[in-house]
């Protein structure tokens, strides 16, 4: 198992390098001018000032040199300062990452619970009313875009009923307690779960049906084992492997969805930061956001793969101690 872990970890570094290089090149070739956007437009600066600022920021050098210097600094733990306001990138990113991790973490746990429970209910009661309801709901979820659902929920719960806050982490001028923080979490988390759970539910339903139709499940029933054992030792562990694999594979979709939701709900996470930095061509911030997102997805994938390997006796034996 350790050997497997080391092998997989070694693969992460080239992946991150590739992501950063691609992001750098794309960003540099996109239209827009970071120096001009600092003062609101090229026409507000003299040519001499413009060149001085560009030189200070190292923007007059070839792209390859800029990338090399950026990479060298990052490897030394120096992420630079925001071109927009001079704040340390590492501080800003850390704060945003915590917010995004909270959002995706809570929503992820929600998706796992919803899809395992709904998938179990539909899979074990296939072609009965529960199954039809769950499957129809999954289809609706599959077809609903997150941003549209987010706006709908805001309209309903924040504007019409005024039960929940519609944006941000906290409401300015109101007390900041655990309860208000949770209230701010409800709508964005609900949006992610409702807009994303569909395919997960369908997958679990299918896996559960496969297990129930399997020889080993039938043999276990023929052995007189009670429901409790059939569910926890046969159905769940065997349905879990394809589910976790899919969780890993679909993580980029989920992160993308969460970024959109951050924008809809002004949730101060990586996604919102990314969007603002992209508009301002704030390349130090943008690169950090891309790299952190890439690392998040890659590490998530790695955890999923490790879990799958650990759940699979064949792989466990291959890399194990025995």
């Amino acid at each position: 198992m350790l050997r497997y872990l080391v092998l997989r970890l070694a693969g992460v570094i080239p992946q991150l390098l590739l992501i950063s290089l691609l992001a750098f090149v794309i960003m540099k070739s996109a239209p827009g001018d970071p120096v001009a956007s600092l003062v609101g437009g090229r026409e507000f600066m003299t040519q001499a000032d413009y060149e001085r600022v560009a030189r200070n920021l190292g923007l007059n050098e070839p792209v390859v040199v800029q990338y090399g210097r950026w990479l060298g600094n990052v490897l030394q733990g120096e992420w630079g300062h925001s071109i927009q306001d001079g704040r340390k990138v590492s501080t800003v990113i850390a704060g945003a990452l915590a917010n995004t991790a909270l959002l995706i973490g809570v929503a992820g746990v929600g998706i796992v619970l919803v899809s395992l429970i709904a998938g179990h209910l539909a899979g074990t009661r296939a072609q009965r009313p529960v199954d039809y309801i769950v499957s129809a709901a999954a289809l609706v979820s599959f077809a609903t875009p997150a941003f549209w659902l987010g706006l709908l929920l805001i309209l309903l719960f924040a504007v019409v009923f005024d039960w929940l806050p519609s944006s941000g982490l906290v409401t300015l001028g109101s007390p900041d307690t655990l309860v208000t923080r949770l209230q701010h979490l409800i709508l964005p988390v609900a949006t992610i779960i409702l807009a994303h759970a569909g395919p997960y539910v369908r997958l679990v339903r299918g896996s559960v049906r496969d297990v129930l139709a399997s020889d080993y499940y039938r043999a276990a029933v023929a052995r007189g084992l009670p429901r409790r054992i059939l569910m926890w030792r046969y159905e769940l562990p065997n349905a879990l492997t394809p589910f976790i694999t899919w969780c890993g594979v679909s993580l980029p979709l989920l992160v993308g969805g969460a970024f959109i939701v951050e924008w809809v709900f002004s949730w101060p996470g990586i996604g919102l930061l990314f969007l603002k930095a992209a508009i301002a061509k704030n390349y130090t911030m943008l690169m950090a956001a891309v790299l952190v997102t890439g690392a998040f997805v890659i590490i998530g994938n790695l955890i999923a793969d490790l879990l799958v390997a650990w759940l699979n006796p064949k792989l466990r034996r291959q890399y194990g101690h025995r």
Binding site: D215, Y216, R218, A219, G224, P237, N238, L311, P313
Partner: protein, 284 residues
């Protein structure tokens, strides 16, 4: 031999599957009985409804697209009136079942030992250590080499023959009064087949449980069974003592079945005769 009350009594059993608009009559008013300690062979070509009979006995048929009619009594009890906990007390513990493909009948994420211990603990309410001891004893009883090691093995780590013997041990550990064996040798190579049949015959003789052996291999049935049932298209065409049916078939279909394996049957009839006479089975 004193005539005993039947252990299993199947009366007018019919099984129909709904497949879309169509309906398959898989089993059509089949009646037979098995006495305690008796081995009954059920033969017939593929699709004749043999597995459906076995699955009906254990209540394994999916109730959604299946219609069952008739009555099955086990030890005087009507099985069709069982609720869930009633079935759980019968399945495994009083009626065991051996399936055709040994590897796929084990949970892929649990060891052989874990599955034996799990079933033993559930049915006999045993402590873990005690369940382990009984599992080991059952593996030894079926002649499993290195049983301690096999306890820690997954099914994919065992050969087909070893796997089927582990499956046999799992059934035996629960000490059922009746064993349903649905094509137990069909997926094994010839050597493993011979070995399994040998162990099956030995243990059956020693323990004296009743058995329903399903097979299209007449050779296997001739070797093990006291009585033979011949099925075709869901109907029971012929039943009787093994020797009588194989030597003197009454139905043309049975004759046809026999002609398909002439050489093997004649070779085997001799051993079967010795065996059945020794057992004191009443021959016609």
């Amino acid at each position: 031999m004193k005539k005993m009350n039947p252990l299993l009594n199947v009366k007018q059993l019919s099984v129909r599957y709904a497949t879309g608009a169509d309906e398959v009559r898989a089993v059509d008013e089949v009646s037979f009985s098995i006495r305690p300690g008796e081995v009954v062979g059920l033969v017939g070509e593929s699709g004749s409804g043999k597995s459906s009979v076995a699955q009906a006995i254990l209540g394994l048929l999916d109730q959604h697209n299946t219609t069952i009619a008739g009555r099955i009594e086990f030890d005087g009890e009507n099985l069709f009136s069982c609720d869930e906990s009633g079935w759980n007390a019968v399945r495994g513990r009083r009626i065991g079942m051996i399936f055709q493909s040994p590897e796929s009948s084990f949970n892929p994420v649990a060891t052989v030992g874990a599955q034996m211990v799990e079933a033993l603990r559930w049915h006999f309410k045993l402590a873990k250590v005690e369940a382990r001891q009984r599992a080991l004893a059952a593996l030894r009883e079926v002649g499993m080499p290195r049983p301690e090691e096999v306890m820690h093995n997954y099914a994919f780590e065992l050969s087909g023959g070893m796997c089927q013997r582990a499956a046999l041990a799992l059934v035996m550990a629960l000490q059922p009064a009746l064993v349903l064996a649905d094509e137990p040798t069909a997926s094994l190579d010839v050597l493993a087949q011979a070995e399994l049949v040998q162990w099956l015959a030995l243990i059956q003789k020693k323990r004296g449980f009743a058995m329903l052996v399903i097979s299209h291999d007449l050779n296997l049935v001739a070797r093990l069974a006291d009585q033979v049932l011949v099925m075709h298209g869901g109907r029971l065409l012929e039943k009787g003592a093994t020797r009588r049916v194989l030597a003197n078939p009454q139905h043309p279909y049975t004759e046809q079945l026999l002609r398909a394996v002439p050489r093997l049957i004649t070779a085997d009839m001799r051993t079967h005769n010795d065996h059945s006479v020794k057992n004191g089975v009443v021959l016609p």
